[in-house]
């Protein structure tokens, strides 16, 4: 066995389970897999900076000259159709629904973990089971209701729907984050005479801040990505980024570079948020199971 084995290690320090000489092999394998998964992404970014003709060659012209034409097209250089209203709609729907989800899920999580209601686990299952219902089955009643209420093509409708879509997962996440808060602290606060709002403001929110961040990130990503509702329920005023994206597949000549540029541009907020907060992302994805 390798020398690393015999050295005394501090606890919880990761150590490879393989012999030293195969360490390079592991690295090589990981890099290969990593590049393999990254290749389509890299190709998308590269193509977005190519001209339409260079984008449509076979074999691919990797070293072709770079240009911003694809992005100019995305911003409406030749059609005059600006993507900004759609992007702002996406941002509005994502941010507002995330705030709404937090406003609903944090108190709910409190009532499910810190001071649990009776049959709290049944409530948890109810929340999760709604996430399993087929979204598409609700599309028709939502459409009809929205039409009768004059809510079609209205960004608030998307805010409500995205809240519905993310609330169950958020409740699960927040519950597991709140359950982490040591009871002793809450009890001490209670003895000091702090009321519930104070406890929330001074203790729960600050201590669960990383969890809140993780929950927000996940909610934001899933809202930003949503297309089915946006496609069916919006039109002129409330159309979102993903819907705008589909209009780039045109019959007017080549469109590959344009589509790639649009795909990159629409994904940018999610990419930035996700890369910047990788650890929060992991926390969120594991529904708070990993601290």
């Amino acid at each position: 066995m390798s020398a690393t084995m015999t050295r005394p290690r501090p606890l919880r320090r990761r150590e490879p389970l393989v012999r030293n000489h195969s360490k390079t092999l592991v690295g090589l394998a990981a890099w290969t897999v990593g590049l393999f998964f990254f290749a389509p992404f890299a190709w998308m970014v590269l193509t977005s900076f190519h001209s339409e003709t260079d984008a449509a060659t076979n074999p691919p012209s990797i070293a072709a000259q770079l240009t911003l034409d694809g992005y100019r097209e995305f911003f409406g250089a030749s059609t005059g159709a600006s993507p900004w209203p759609a992007l702002i709609n996406s941002a509005t729907a994502s941010v507002l629904s995330t705030l709404l989800v937090l406003a609903l899920s944090i108190p709910a999580a409190y009532a499910l973990s810190i001071r649990p209601v009776r049959k709290w686990s049944d409530v948890m299952f109810f929340f999760l089971s709604t996430k399993m219902l087929p979204v598409v089955a609700g599309l028709l009643p939502v459409y009809l209701a929205a039409q009768n209420l004059g809510m079609l093509d209205n960004i608030w409708l998307l805010v409500l729907l995205y809240t519905t879509m993310n609330l169950p997962i958020a409740v699960w996440m927040m519950r597991s984050f709140l359950a982490e808060i040591p009871v002793a602290i809450l009890e001490a606060a209670a003895i000091d005479g702090a009321g519930l709002p104070t406890v929330f403001r001074r203790i729960i929110i600050p201590m669960a801040a990383p969890g809140i961040a993780a929950t927000s990130l996940i909610c934001f990503i899933f809202s930003w990505n949503e297309m089915l509702f946006a496609q069916v329920l919006t039109g002129v005023q409330a159309s979102t980024g993903p819907v705008f994206l589909t209009s780039f597949v045109t019959s007017q000549g080549l469109f590959l570079a344009k589509v790639c540029a649009a795909a990159v541009a629409v994904s940018i907020p999610v990419l930035i948020a996700g890369f910047a907060a990788q650890d929060r992302l992991v926390q969120g994805l594991t529904m708070g199971a990993v601290k």
């Binding site: 108190p107 219902l133 890369f275």
Partner: protein, 317 residues
């Protein structure tokens, strides 16, 4: 279906409950109510509406013929071969994508669990596919990768063949030849990072002392994996599979974008969408929706059993 469990081990049990009584119970419930009431309204009311419409003869294109239809719509749903086909497609697509991305994700996570040069970079590269907007990813695969004329896949084939002096490389038409696989691959590409992140987190939460001890006792890498790592990872695997299934079974974007439901790739969400949005047959679409919801409840009951074990184990880990 689930007996209410006392939150054993949770802090809640330690918070003294002194004043029993109705007011107290309501005070405890109050913070839960907004979320609960909201979810009940927005998920159950539409279902009631769907249920009602499913018994109606309501074709938006024939407004004069609206009326009650009894079980006609259900008869149509159960005798519709497209519906049956889409159930099978959904099962295949979900199972295939979840299992393969879980396996791939596990493999990648095991690799990333080791130290090597540039581990952070590789991890970041691997996350990228998950952070691409799904519609964008589907467009990318359809047009930039699968396209038989100028897609990257065939382009690479041309390039490789030309290295060997051949100017007649195979140029398969990926989407037409293997439509469901084409859709699945694009989804696996997006969901492997998701699985990887969860499993990597699981790997890194292993109690190292025990593994060290096992190693000192002479256990080899495979034995450690089989008897220590895998049991520890079980609930992470279950969690990843559950969450993955929840999202992939509902997939619409990839099917819609890559094949528009053609070539036998229409899954349930797409088929219902088609009935509602292309055929405008609201009655039949609602009946299909009701059937799918009932089916989901059956499946979900089993899935939730799984979660209940997750919830129990959360306290013991």
């Amino acid at each position: 279906m689930h007996k209410a469990k006392r939150p054993t081990g949770s802090h809640a049990a330690q918070v003294p409950r002194q004043r029993p009584g109705r007011a107290k119970a309501w005070a405890t419930r109050a913070p839960l109510m907004p979320a609960l009431v909201y979810m009940v309204i927005v998920t159950q009311l539409p279902f009631v509406a769907t249920l009602v419409i499913s018994f109606m003869n309501w074709d938006a294109l024939r407004p004069d013929e609206r009326g009650w239809a009894g079980f006609t719509n259900y008869k149509l749903v159960f005798t519709d071969p497209d519906m049956r086909a889409s159930v099978i497609t959904t099962v295949w697509l979900t199972a295939g994508v979840v299992l393969l991305s879980l396996l791939l994700g596990l493999g990648v996570a095991l690799l990333l669990d080791h130290k090597f040069r540039g581990r952070g970079v590789v991890r970041t590269m691997l996350i990228a596919p998950f952070l691409v907007v799904p519609v964008a990813a589907a467009l990318l695969w359809k047009h930039a990768l699968y396209n038989p004329e100028y897609g990257l896949l065939n382009g690479t084939l041309t390039w490789i063949w030309s290295l060997f002096g051949s100017d007649s490389p195979p140029q398969p038409d990926w989407i037409s030849d293997r439509p469901l696989t084409a859709v699945a691959v694009s989804l696996i590409w997006q969901w492997t990072p998701f699985m990887m992140l969860i499993l990597l987190a699981g790997l890194q939460s292993r109690p190292m002392e025990i593994i060290e001890a096992a190693r000192v006792d002479g256990a080899n890498a495979f034995q450690i994996f089989r008897h220590l790592t895998l049991p520890h990872l079980r609930r992470y695997l279950e969690l990843a599979a559950l969450l993955g299934s929840i999202y992939i079974v509902q997939n619409f974007d990839a099917v819609f974008t890559i094949t528009s439901g053609g070539l036998g790739t229409a899954n349930l969400p797409y088929t219902i969408y088609q009935t509602f949005y292309q055929a405008h047959d609201y009655g039949r679409a609602s009946a299909a929706g009701v059937v799918v919801v009932l089916g989901t409840i059956v499946v979900a009951t089993f899935a939730l059993r799984l979660v209940s074990t997750l919830l129990r184990e959360e306290k013991t880990s």
